[in-house]
């Protein structure tokens, strides 16, 4: 008379907390998730193929549209990858400015993560607090390159222009007010009993699984592996910066929260060093008007806020466009861990897991 069957439910693609157009197919037994399958591709635009039909200068515009909350990191990866392909040496001042902007962008990205993750778990006030600070950062980006989100901040060989007048002063003003803001978020969440209940021990992914699945970034570091491209393969001016890699051994959602907050403090430290040690000099290297490549291939990884962002270029003889371009998008790789994190847990943990992985669909679908 009564049937006992599992319910299949589609979380997304239109759902308040799947961070865009992620669709997660869930099999539910009551509230327990028995099977979890992420389905992607709703935002596919063929960025890699498009970039193979555009010159190296034009391609960078597309990188903005991948991880749109951390577009400066994407720009950095593209610019440095192409510079590596052509052997271009960037002036030191440009490297410093790139580092500073990338770290500010890391702050903006982590703030957006904190905002949405907290909102997903139900703490709605942190959302607006974090957005308040992010607004300030976006204003800085706007002052630098005229765009808040799709920045296209760098040029191959350096920067198009030096910092605008007053930029350092505004950046310093942000530096001065930002640390108390982090304390404010921590006050609301870190020792909050409900927050801890919702995050401690939730969506665990230990170091072996992280490495087997290729998961990088804060998720890997929260599993106790101190792998950070900024230290492992220093790019931009990171070799000259003094900072630490925060790690935690617990490998759960709460550990990832603590790691990201500690990373924000470290980013703050790096920005401060960039502001104080900013060298004088040109910001653009001498490069030819048209870049013609040899037969060559390059893989260039950088530490994006979500993890290892890699650009792979293959050049053909005399070509002005890459023969093949591929992006190793951290969100794409990290999303694989979702099933492992959530199967056998409750529905509410799926939401926490999506939040803690910090996925951006623009980057996953490309």
């Amino acid at each position: 008379m009564f049937k006992n069957e599992e319910m299949e439910i589609n979380l997304g693609p239109q759902h308040p907390s799947t961070h865009g157009v992620l669709r997660v197919k869930l099999h539910l037994d009551g509230e327990t998730v028995t099977k979890c399958t992420p389905i992607i591709g709703y935002l596919h635009r063929g960025v890699e193929k498009i970039c193979e039909n555009q010159t190296y200068f034009q391609g960078q515009v597309w990188t903005d549209r991948m991880d749109y909350v951390a577009s400066i990191s994407n720009n950095l990866g593209w610019a440095e990858g192409v510079e590596k392909l052509f052997g271009i040496e960037v002036p030191r001042r440009a490297k410093y400015i790139r580092t500073m902007l990338t770290e500010q962008n890391r702050l903006a990205s982590h703030l957006l993560w904190l905002a949405t993750h907290a909102l997903d778990i139900g703490a709605m006030t942190v959302f607006l607090y974090a957005f308040r600070e992010r607004e300030y950062l976006l204003d800085l980006f706007e002052a630098f390159c005229g765009a808040r989100l799709t920045t296209t901040a760098f040029r191959i060989g350096g920067l198009r222009e030096d910092l605008p007048p007053g930029f350092i002063k505004s950046a310093q003003a942000f530096q001065d007010r930002f640390l108390p803001c982090i304390d404010e978020y921590e006050e609301l969440l870190t020792e909050n009993r409900i927050w801890k209940k919702r995050t401690v021990g939730v969506a665990k992914l230990n170091a072996e699984d992280c490495i087997a699945l290729g998961v990088t970034g804060p998720v890997l570091r929260a599993a106790g592996v101190p792998y950070d491209i900024r230290k492992a393969f220093p790019n931009a001016a990171y070799a000259e910066m003094d900072f630490e890699i925060p790690t935690r051994p617990e490998a759960d959602t709460y550990a990832r929260y603590l790691v990201r907050l500690a990373e924000m403090r470290q980013s703050h430290r790096i920005i401060q060093q960039c502001i104080e040690g900013l060298p004088e000099g040109p910001v653009m290297a001498k490069i030819p008007k048209i870049l013609r490549s040899e037969v060559n291939e390059v893989y260039h990884p950088i530490e994006a806020p979500k993890g290892e962002l890699g650009y792979y270029f293959v050049g053909e003889k005399g070509g002005t466009m890459p023969y093949r371009m591929h992006v190793r998008a951290p969100s794409f790789v990290n999303l694989q861990a979702l099933s492992k994190m959530t199967e056998g847990r409750l529905l509410a943990d799926v939401i926490a897991a999506i939040g803690t992985l910090d996925v951006v669909l623009g980057e996953i679908d490309r």
């Binding site: 439910i9 907390s17 778990i121 139900g122 006030t125 607090y129 409900i194 927050w195 409750l346």
Partner: protein
């Protein structure tokens, strides 16, 4: 009280019911407005400001006044007040959609059950223990009769209210089931489990004051609890614990943060009312906010002193001869109601949401044993001292 004939009884009853309905229909929209504003200010934003009333009415005058004083009227807390009128108009005028595969009759019935259960509770709530004023003799039918601070003086009022407020969950569960959709179903299941679990400690925590004061009549109970007639001073402790448990369960019963699982928007889209729109959704909304007011009225009457200034029997230290402070007043009652309503909003802006299993843990593993011990302590105090 002068004796009334049948016509007078009916007319008086009607007048009082209409008065209470008006009170609800004024308080609920004001509460939604307060929610926008309170949460807005906590979250470093301004809340609703766009519907400012333009240049007419109270807000118009206020805005003009602030401009005249050389201030930008952005910070006027009354800016955005007309939003609640717009809210109601929107709900009434919106297209009422019934999903094709929904169970039509149950789908329509569910919000009605919810809202009726919520409204019905008010018939036994006393806002003031006596007559608020007397109708002048020149009025037809009701001339010379007192206007009481309550609709009916039920001697088992607390029991009646508890019974009726548990009916509200049927509205949610039936509505969720009748929607024939997956997210509402999950929301309905959560709601059923949650409200039934929290009903137990809620009722038990209300038994503490009932036991200590020895009455089930709403206003008698409230008056005895605050004036502390024949209550031992130790009774403060179980009453305090009772207040804590009652408010916690009250949050759960009204589906408010941190227990808003049935409508957790980031998990279940909109929970049990996902498929509802228009005034049917409006009824659920109305029921939720009315329940908030009910919970606040209860907490105010039984744990915070009700019509008197001081709670927990402390009122006996202020002699009745002191003007205003020593006397019962409807102002004291509503002051406490608003304080608790503010706490509802404050908590919503502050804490995250529990997970389903944790919610059950809190209810069954912590609150229930706590209330049982508390009830036992209350019984000891009542009969041993």
């Amino acid at each position: 009280m002068p004796t009334m004939n049948l016509t007078q009884t009916m007319v008086m009853g009607l007048i009082q019911v209409v008065a209470v309905l008006i009170l609800i229909f004024v308080m609920v929209p004001l509460l939604t407005f307060a929610e926008r504003k309170v949460i807005g200010y906590i979250q470093v934003r301004l809340g609703a400001t766009r519907t400012a009333g333009g240049h007419v009415g109270i807000t118009g005058a206020l805005n003009r006044g602030m401009w005249a004083m050389g201030k930008v009227p952005m910070l006027s807390i009354l800016r955005g007040l007309p939003v609640f009128v717009a809210d109601i108009l929107k709900l009434i005028l919106k297209e009422d959609i019934i999903p094709a595969k929904a169970e039509r009759s149950v789908f329509t019935l569910a919000p009605i059950i919810s809202v009726l259960a919520a409204f019905g509770v008010f018939s036994a709530i006393a806002f003031y223990p006596g007559a608020l004023f007397t109708f002048p003799a020149r009025f037809p039918i009701v001339g010379g009769l007192p206007f009481m601070g309550f609709i009916s003086d039920v001697n088992v009022g607390v029991l009646y209210i508890l019974a009726l407020s548990s009916v509200g969950v049927y509205g949610i569960v039936l509505g969720a089931w009748a929607s024939n959709s997956k997210y509402p179903l999950l929301g309905g299941l959560r709601s059923a489990a949650q409200i039934i679990s929290y009903e137990v400690p809620l009722t038990l925590s209300l038994l503490t004051p009932v036991l200590l004061a020895g009455s089930l009549n709403f206003k008698d109970l409230s008056v005895r609890l605050s004036t502390g007639a024949d209550m031992h001073w130790l009774a403060i402790f179980p009453l305090f614990v009772g207040f804590f448990v009652y408010t916690t369960c009250g949050f759960a019963e009204t589906n408010r943060t941190p227990f808003d699982l049935p409508e957790a928007e980031t998990e279940l889209v909109a929970g049990f009312h996902t498929e509802y729109s228009g005034m049917k959704f409006g009824f659920f909304y109305l029921a939720e906010y009315t329940n908030m007011i009910v919970v606040s009225c209860f907490a105010s009457a039984f744990f915070l002193g009700g019509y008197y200034l001081l709670p927990f029997g402390l009122q006996r230290f202020i002699p009745a001869s002191v003007p205003f402070l020593g006397q019962p007043s409807i102002l004291f009652f509503f002051l406490k109601v608003f304080t608790i309503l503010f706490a509802f909003l404050w908590v919503r802006a502050t804490v995250p949401r529990y997970r389903y299993d944790q919610l059950m843990d809190v209810g069954w593993k912590y609150l229930l044993p706590l209330t049982l011990v508390n009830l036992f302590a209350a019984a000891l105090i009542r009969f041993a001292f």
